[in-house]
Amino acid sequence: MGHGGNLMKIKKDLGVLLAVYGLLALLPIFFHNNMSLMNILIISLIWAVVAGSWDLIMGFAGIFTFGQIAFLVIGGYSSVIFCKLFGISPWFGFLIGGIVAGGAGILVGLPCLKLKGAYVALVTFAVHMILEPFLKSDIGRAIGTGGAQGILTVPPLKIGSYVYNAMEPTPWFYTLLIISFIAFFIIYKVVHSMWGYSFIALRDSELFAQSVGVNAFKYKLIVFGISAALTGMIGGVYANYVGMLSTRILGLDLFLILMVMLVLGGMGRFPGALLGAFITMFISESLRYFDTYRLIIFGLLVMVLVIKMPQGIIGLIFPLGKAGIIERTILHFREKKAKKAEMIT
């Protein structure tokens, strides 16, 4: 999974991102009356950010964390609780969700600095595991988590005099399109910066990276912070869009679905998580009526994908080291043209 710093590649990554967002922006023109489809698109955009920031820490930085949904929940709860407590606008709530989750990310990252592989996974998964009993406990209830039933009313999101509501999905869609684009642009910028190269160097060989002067602790904490902050921010948005919050998001089924997004899209392949999120959500929705069987199928899908398609969808389109479908097509036409030119002369 080498990520070179060459300009071609950077341009290609940004190009793919812009192309996907350009196509997405056109969708409401055709489907704005299809409520369920719009809902799937909006939810996909939300999960895409979670998957993307998980990919940043796991795929690019190679730090094996399992706490992403915990940061989503931390961001969501703190955003809503702050809005209710101080009567601030949910727009600031999103920022606060991001800041609190980012702080939590750095805090969780601290004990992980000296740990390796499966230990980091355990410590981060522990956060996930104890979050539910904590939010349901008396301490949680005192902060305002609503205990076992969760938070049932969330202050509505407004822009000027317009109040976002469930009946009109189009404004929600474009708002999320912008928010998730900003998130993915940040991830893109981070991946293609000195920070990003440091993460990748640490992933591929920690010893070598340190010997050329990369400060492992600093960059690990930075990636923990950024990844958790982006997830926490979208957690606030999620709470506002769904209109309620409970510990149900901490269920293992969503954890698995999030992992499918990452594996399907292609781990460490920008912007694989974005494509993975959309495809996974559509598969998930079309299997909605098979409930238990849906998760059996997802379990199978993870096994088959990890073994047979290690680079995911992005790997099919742009395989590493050889020409992908798009490049092959371009090459094919170029050869045809050259042959024609030869025939004429």
């Binding site: 094996f64 592989g117 499966a118 293992l252 379990g299 993870v302 990890v306 073994i307």
Partner: protein
């Protein structure tokens, strides 16, 4: 006060012996194959459901073992051959192995749910009654669990130190390349390691089924507990896991008795985190 303390200690040691059984299966796999097996808890549930199914045929507990042991062994072996082996040549195979086993866990757990339904199944106790030692009362079920765990643990240790296959397993754990050079078939060793680990988890499931019931997702609790135990003991260190299992078993009994059951997991993680901050490789672990 003293009698209370003895009661709590006895319950802690009984817990510890079962946890030791659960944790060494995981420590073995991690130590030998370097795979973190996320489906470990599902093999535990598989044991419970096998016991439930066979027991439902009204044959008693003995046929359960005759049917379950080879099936669990086979399931573990197949997991290694089908899912782990194709990944081994990859650079990022450790992460891929975790994700594959997580997929397997979801597949198995939801299959159990599809077959047996979401509700817990119960099995009759192996032994009822108990005995009195002055003011202290020990249940026969707990006693039996302790004895069976110790017997299984001892035979496992003998398997590792006395049989050819067991020694080959230890050799691979110590030095994979060296083992290969002296002609140990490491692929067979990997398969057997997974099989033995699945067997230990499944036996734990059968043993604990009368006490904790059988449910489709009940294995996750066991997975997390076995994970904490092996991490505290030092991942891959079987000796470390044994000590950690008893330490955490006693902590569980104490916290459950004096503070409350909801705080057990918090206490476990607190102990683990404090230990890892001082010794990042766990109590008996080595870097590798």
């Amino acid at each position: 006060m003293l009698i209370e303390l003895i009661d709590v200690l006895i319950s802690g040691i009984t817990n510890g012996s079962v946890y030791a059984l659960m944790a060494i299966g995981m420590a073995l796999v991690y130590g030998v194959t370097k795979v973190f097996n996320f489906a470990y808890g599902s093999f535990y549930s598989m044991g419970g459901y096998l016991a439930f199914t066979v027991f439902g045929l009204k044959f008693g507990y003995f046929p359960v073992l005759i049917i379950a042991v080879p099936l669990l062994f086979l399931a573990g072996f197949a997991t290694e051959v089908i899912l782990i082996k194709p990944l081994r040549h990859r650079a990022d195979w450790e992460m891929a192995a975790v994700m594959v086993t997580l997929g397997l866990a979801m597949f198995l757990d939801n299959t159990f749910q599809a077959i047996y339904g979401p509700f817990t199944k119960s099995l009759p106790a192996l032994f009822t009654g108990g005995m009195e030692l002055g003011p202290i009362w020990i249940g026969n079920q707990n006693m039996a669990m302790f004895v069976i765990s110790i017997v299984v643990l001892t035979s496992f240790m003998l398997f590792l130190s006395k049989t050819r296959l067991g020694m080959a397993v230890e050799a691979v754990a110590q030095d994979m390349d060296g083992a290969q050079i002296v002609g140990i078939p490491i692929n067979v060793v990997f398969g057997v390691t997974f099989a033995v680990s699945a067997l230990l988890a499944g036996l734990g499931g059968i043993l604990l089924a009368p006490k904790y019931f059988v449910s489709p997702f009940g294995g996750w609790d066991i997975l997390v507990k076995a994970w904490v135990i092996t991490a505290l003991g030092g991942m891959g260190s079987i000796r470390g896991s044994l000590y950690a299992a008893f330490i955490l078993g006693i902590i569980e009994a104490m916290v459950g008795y004096w503070i409350g059951f909801t705080w057990i997991l918090f206490a476990w993680f607190a102990v683990l985190l404090t230990t890892l901050i001082i010794r990042p490789q766990g109590l008996f672990g080595t870097w590798g």
